[in-house]
Subunit: 472 residues, 2 copies
C-alpha cells in the first residue's frame, strides 16, 4: 500500500478516499484484508486514530466490514460499474437511508405526530393575516426582540438561566452558533475541550473550522477536572443536563469544580449545551449550569430541535454581558437566518402557553416510551442493561451475549433494526474500551414500534454469535 | 428546620428550594445529616412522598447523597470562586440608528410595498393547510428538492446557468454560503481575491473566518487580469452582472479572460455573486458567467434578498459537479437553515409564476425610480454626475462642488439625508483616490421621496463649502 499524503485535506479523509478508490477500481478485491491499524499507522507514519477514522468512514459507507479480532475486510460490491458511472451524476448526495430498516433507533428525530400542528397552523395564519410588509423588513441580527424576550422569560423561569433578551442570539442551528463563537472567541488563542465520548459532530465542526480541540475523558459526573487540567483546553463544551451519549447528569459539586476552573484564569469559558434538558422524567428539571455562574463564564446554548422539531431550525445562545460588545462589533454582519414570520409564530407559540403545554405533554409521552423501552430491555432473554439518567430521548444499552459492538449493530441491522455503535461517539477512540454497548434513541418510534423492535433485537441477539458474521 | 409553605408551587418544590438555599448559603454544612423522611413529614405535616420527591431532586442535582440505611447527607461542595469582571454592560448592542434621518439612500432594503403579499399569504395558508407533520421532518441538507428544482429551472431559463437541482445548496444568506465554501475549498491552500472597491462585508467575512484574501483593483470592466496575476489569489469573488459599488457590467471578453485564467491551473475558481442581476433596465439581462464555463470552475451564488426581500433569508449556490461529493462528505452536517414551510411557500411562489411576474413589475418600478433619480441628479444646481450601468438598485454620484467625500456625507446628514461614502467600499484604501463620490441606493425610497431627498441634497450641497463643517 503506497499513498502520497498532502496537506489539502485531513489525513484520514485522504486515506479513506484512497482506499475507497482502490476498492471502487477493483484493485482491492472483495474479501481482501486491510492492514491492521497499527501496521498501517507505522507504515504511513500517521496516528492510529487517523487510520481508525478512515476505517470508520469506510465501514459507515459499507466498503469495509470489521470482524472482531480478525481485522478489516473489503466488502463484496455487486454494482461496482454502476456505482462508478453514477458517481459524477451522483444521486449519492441524496443521502439514501439503508434499505430494509424497519425500526430506526436514531436519536435525531422527535415524535412528530403529537406536535400541536393545528395551533401552529392557527398562529401562522394569525401572523400572516395581522402582519404585512413588516414581515419583509430586515430584522435585528440577533433575532426579533419579541422572540428573544419570550425565550429569555422561558429560560429564566424554566431553566434557571440568568439572562436578558439582549444577551440572546437566535440562529438556525447549534452548528451556526458554534461557528459564530469560534470567530467571536478567536481561533489561534483557544483550544476547545470536547467530551469523550460526546456528540459526534463536534470534532468535525471544530476541524472544518480550523479550531483546535482536545477530546477530554468523562466519568459518571461529566468531564473530569484532572483530565481538563492535563489537556490545555481553555473552553469546554459540555452538556451538564444530560451528557450525550452517556446520559449522565452532572451533579452540583462537579458543576462548581468546573466553574471554579473557569474562574481561575481569564479566557476560560464553558459552553453549556442544554440540548434536551426539558426532558427529565422524575422530579424537576435540573437548573442550567449558567444559573450558578456569577462571572460571565458560561455561554448557554439551547434549541427547539428536541422540544419541538429539528425542522423548526431555531436555536439560540445566551452571551455573557462582557461579550456583547465584541459580538456587535464583529458578528452583527450575520443577519439572523430565521425568517421573520417563523420568529413571530414561535414567539406567539411560547407567549400564549402552547410551548409549555406541549412540553408537559411530550414529557409524559417520552416518559412512557422510555419506561416501555427500559422494561422491554429488562425482559430480553439476552442479559441487557439500560444505562443513563431518567431523562432525555436516548439511552445506552449494554448487551452481554458474547457479541462485540459491531456484531450487535450488524446483527440488528440484518434483522431490520438500526442501533448505533457506542464507539462512534469517541472523538479519541483510544479512550474507547471495547464494550458491547449500543445507543438507542426512542423519540420518533411509537410505543408499539419500541416493543416490536426490542422483540426483534431479542431474536437477533439471542444466538450468542451470529453465524453469518463469522463467515465474512 | 422551619419553613413557611404556601400554595404557589408544589410543596416538594418549596421544600427542595428551601433546603438547596440552606446548603448554598452554607447553613447546612457538608456532611450534615438531613432529617429522616418520616420525621420531616411529621414536623411539616406533609406526606412522606412529598419529602421523598424533594430529597430525590436534591440527590439528582448532587446536593445530597443518600447513604443506605444511614440516611441523607449534604454533599461536600467546593467554595465558589468569583471572577471580578469589569462590567461593560451596554445597551450599545441595540444598534441605534442615527436620529433625524428623513431619507436613507441605503442599498440594503427593497421596495416592500409592492411585494405581492396577498399571494404570499395565500400560498402560506395553502401550504400550512395541505401539509401537516411533513413540515416538521428533517429535510435534505441542501434544501428541499422541490425548491431546488424550481430555482434550477429559473436559473437555466432566466440566468443561463447550467445546473441541475442536485448541484444547488440552499442557505439563509450569502455569508453562510461563503463560510461553507471557505471550509469546502480549504483554508490554508487558498487565497481569495476580492474586488477593490467591492462589497464591504467580504473582507470582514474572510478575516473572521481566518481565510487569506487580497483586494484586487478593478477597472470599468471588472477585476483587471494583470492585477489578478500580480496578486497570488487563486479564487476570485466577483459580481460580473453588476459590480458593487461601481455599477459596471463585465463584458464578455473580460469574462473569457477570467475563465481562461481559471482554466490555466487546477485549484483556481471563480465565485460569481449574481446578487442583483435580475435588474437590468435596458436590453436583455446578461447571462451568468457560469453559463460560459465548461470546466466546473465557476461557483454561482444568488439570493432572493434583492428580487424579493432580505427578510426572506434564502440564498443559494450552484456547485460544480466535481465538488458535490466533497460537499457531501464534509459539509452535509450543516442542515439547511431555511424552515420547511418557507421552502415550500417559495417553491410554489416560483413554480406558479408569481416570482417572474413580481420581477417584471419590480423591473419597471425600479427602472422608473432610477430614471427619476438620474434626472433629478442631472437637474441639481451643483455639478453632479451619476455613474454606473443602467442596472441594479444603486448608483454612484460624483459631486463637483468643491466638497470632499466626508463633507458631502456630513452636510447631507445634517439636512436629514443619508448617503454613503465611496471610500468605505475599499478593502485596501490605498487604492482609493480622494474623490467626491457617494453611493445612493434607491430601492426602498418612493418616487416622491427620491425627488424630495435630492432636492434637500441640492440645498445642502449648494454652498460650495459648508460653513459649519469648517468650524468642526
Amino acid at each position: 500500500l503506497t499513498i502520497a499524503l498532502n496537506n489539502e485535506l485531513p489525513l484520514y479523509q485522504q486515506l479513506y478516499a484512497y482506499i475507497k478508490s482502490e476498492i471502487q477500481a477493483g484493485r482491492l478485491g472483495a474479501g481482501s484484508k486491510l492492514p491492521s491499524k497499527r501496521k498501517l499507522s507505522t507504515h504511513l507514519n500517521i496516528s492510529q486514530n487517523t487510520v481508525q477514522l478512515a476505517y470508520n468512514q469506510l465501514i459507515d459507507e459499507g466498503y469495509v466490514v470489521p470482524s472482531e479480532r480478525r481485522g478489516y475486510f473489503v466488502h463484496k460490491l455487486e454494482h461496482m460499474i454502476k456505482l462508478e458511472l453514477s458517481e459524477t451524476t451522483s444521486d449519492k448526495t441524496d443521502f439514501k437511508e439503508e434499505s430494509r430498516i424497519l425500526y430506526d433507533f436514531s436519536y435525531q428525530g422527535v415524535d412528530y405526530q403529537t406536535f400541536p400542528f393545528s395551533a401552529w397552523r392557527k398562529l401562522t395564519k394569525e401572523v400572516i393575516n395581522e402582519y404585512d410588509h413588516e414581515l419583509l423588513e430586515l430584522g435585528h441580527p440577533q433575532g426579533h426582540l419579541g422572540l428573544r424576550t419570550s425565550i429569555a422569560d422561558y429560560l429564566r423561569q424554566s431553566r434557571g438561566v440568568n439572562c436578558r433578551a439582549n444577551q440572546l442570539v437566535i440562529s438556525a442551528g447549534t452548528e451556526f452558533l458554534l461557528q459564530m463563537l469560534i470567530q467571536l472567541l478567536g481561533k489561534d488563542e483557544n483550544i476547545y475541550g470536547i467530551e469523550n465520548p460526546g456528540y459526534e459532530r463536534l470534532s468535525l465542526l471544530f476541524q472544518s473550522n480550523g479550531a483546535r480541540f482536545r477530546p477530554i475523558a468523562i466519568d459518571g459526573n461529566g468531564m473530569m477536572p484532572e483530565e481538563i487540567l492535563k489537556s490545555d483546553a481553555n473552553i469546554l463544551c459540555i452538556a451538564p443536563a444530560h451528557q450525550f451519549p452517556s446520559g449522565g447528569i452532572m451533579p452540583v459539586h462537579r458543576r462548581i469544580q468546573l466553574l471554579n476552573w473557569a474562574n481561575e484564569r481569564p479566557g476560560r469559558y464553558i459552553i453549556e449545551d442544554d440540548y434536551d434538558s426539558e426532558f427529565k422524567y422524575s422530579g424537576k428539571p435540573i437548573p442550567a449550569l449558567q444559573g450558578l455562574d456569577k462571572s460571565g463564564k458560561v455561554i448557554y446554548m439551547g434549541s427547539f430541535s428536541k422540544p419541538l422539531s429539528p425542522a423548526i431550525r431555531v436555536s439560540y445562545m445566551v452571551l455573557p454581558e462582557h461579550l456583547l460588545q465584541k459580538y456587535t462589533d464583529q458578528l452583527s454582519l450575520f443577519l439572523c437566518p430565521v425568517p421573520a414570520i417563523d420568529q413571530k409564530v414561535l414567539e406567539r407559540f411560547i407567549r400564549e402557553g402552547y410551548f409549555e403545554r406541549h412540553l408537559n405533554k411530550m414529557r409524559n409521552l417520552y416518559k412512557r416510551k422510555r419506561e416501555i423501552l427500559t422494561s422491554e430491555i429488562a425482559r430480553m432473554d439476552v442479559r441487557a442493561q439500560a444505562m443513563g439518567a431518567d431523562a432525555g430521548l436516548h439511552l445506552l444499552v449494554t448487551v452481554n451475549n458474547g457479541m462485540g459492538e459491531e456484531e450487535l449493530v450488524i446483527t440488528a441491522l440484518k434483522a431490520g433494526v438500526k442501533v448505533y455503535p457506542y464507539s462512534q461517539y469517541f472523538p479519541d477512540v483510544s479512550l474507547y474500551q471495547k464494550a458491547p454497548v449500543v445507543l438507542l434513541g426512542f423519540a420518533s418510534l411509537t410505543e408499539q414500534d419500541i416493543t416490536k423492535a426490542i422483540g426483534m433485537l431479542n431474536q437477533a441477539w439471542r444466538a450468542t454469535v451470529c453465524k453469518d458474521f463469522n463467515e465474512v
